[in-house]
Symmetry: C2
């Protein structure tokens, strides 16, 4: 099942379910509001029968979860990125947080003013479907709603100002999410999905989600030891090798470049960079 949040002409938003080449509108403002109702699956049959349909090529997709209460991100979680960053394979996941404001739409421009070192990090996002607290990995796996693509676009100059990465990672409207959420019954990142980032069509990251050190269930289980995760909460699983920070010479995004993030079986994010203080190296 593919779930999305659509922008409607009257400035409203609606959760929707993809069927063939159409989106069927559901009775919720976004996928977050949809899955907050534990009975949400019960309404799907009647929506399929009578819901308003919008052709896929006329639908504008937004961040599927508009206001997640929690976004927890994992760093250093792909074997190849860990090697690139010259670090050891970790015993524990390295975690930090973003805010709902950090998210942006699958095809939005990303505007950053005040960073000279904007970098890309293609990531698999996991969306929580039911509440978990001190969950085992098996319980955590059962609590996964589905998966989306994301890009943890980072202001490396701010990230490296202090020991804590947060200030390079929580810029408003810089982390695209989507384009849809593919439910966990349809794809298995653990079995392997290609993940890729391109800049103006040039491939810069290409790896596979089976390279994750801590998989989606491991991360949800771990985080749930200290904080409850609820429907609509998001875990970003980290990025593979190929970021600009790890290149020699280092490379940063330039104003006007289009960053494309693709995960097999999920879809593609396309975000043009609007950078007013960027450097080419």
């Amino acid at each position: 099942m593919h779930l999305g949040t659509l922008s409607l002409p009257d400035n409203q938003t609606r959760a929707a379910l993809r069927e063939g080449d159409n989106w069927i509108l559901l009775e919720a403002a976004d996928v977050g509001a949809l899955v907050a109702n534990p009975d949400w699956r019960n309404g799907l049959d009647s929506a399929r029968a009578t819901g308003q349909r919008i052709a896929e090529d006329e639908a504008a997709l937004l961040t599927p979860i508009q206001r997640p209460a929690k976004i927890v991100c994992c760093g250093l979680n792909y074997h190849d990125h860990i090697i690139e960053a010259k670090r050891e394979i970790p015993t524990f996941p390295t975690l930090f947080a973003k805010f709902a404001d950090t998210l942006t739409d699958p095809d939005a421009d990303i505007t950053i003013t005040g960073s000279h070192k904007v970098d890309w990090e293609a990531e698999l996002a996991v969306v929580v479907g039911s509440s978990v607290q001190r969950a085992t990995p098996v319980e955590a796996a059962n609590a996964i709603l589905g998966y989306a693509a994301s890009n943890d676009v980072s202001a490396r100059d701010w990230q490296s100002r202090t020991l804590q990465w947060f200030q390079g990672k929580a810029w408003d409207n810089t982390t695209p999410l989507g384009p849809v959420i593919v439910t966990a019954d349809e794809i298995s990142p653990k079995d392997g999905l290609e993940i890729r980032a391109d800049i103006d069509g040039e491939v810069v990251q290409r790896s596979n989600t089976r390279e994750l050190v801590f998989d989606s269930a491991d991360l949800i289980s771990y985080v749930s030891q200290f904080t409850t995760l609820r429907p609509g909460d998001i875990v970003l699983t980290g990025t593979p090798g190929g970021v600009g920070l790890g290149m020699s010479p280092q490379r940063w995004l330039r104003d006007g470049e289009v960053l494309t993030t693709h995960i097999e079986g999920i879809g593609t994010l396309r975000n043009r960079m609007r950078l007013s203080a960027s450097e080419s190296t």
Copy 2:
């Protein structure tokens, strides 16, 4: 002006304004909902004239801001704590985030299961009163609603597992906030307020908010360069020297101990520790 959020007998909560020995109930579920309305000050006169009053000693105070969208915390921000942690006076503030779920009430028990090294960090909390984006320190100062006491209770074993502190800092219901918000016209942390933490009556931290490296306005200005702060958002300004991590031998909170956090002109938090995996050293 002292603002608080009260628990009422019917499981409801209400924002309230202190007047003498009474709390006057206001038309909002908490101080966060109150200040989300930019005209909130206009309603105070009629509340003073006709609002329901509750005697101070019959009022149960809750976290004044129940669901802040953003809690940004600063580490290494008191001269004495920086020396204790054997670090340099910083050029930039070290920042990390907490979630709304991390907060707890001014007199709540703090329950932590799964950490062996629970430590205390008395902190001044700053509450944002109006939206700020890329604000100067002067604009930031004007956007401050007021101040509360807080304690960034930390699971040091989790905090030190990886480079990022977040996982030791975001345990549900571990950061008390309150007991009230004192508005910025009444107190000036920059001019000096004593800040103190006691364990079962023994003073472990005692410093003054004039020792802050980055003051409240500096921090709000800095954070607002990358993320918009809005009414009800919270900035924790860091802790002075005297934490258990810095003692020799190191000292951790024990099950049953009462942690008291006091800031001059604001008030006192009293939190009993409920630790099921604590160590005495």
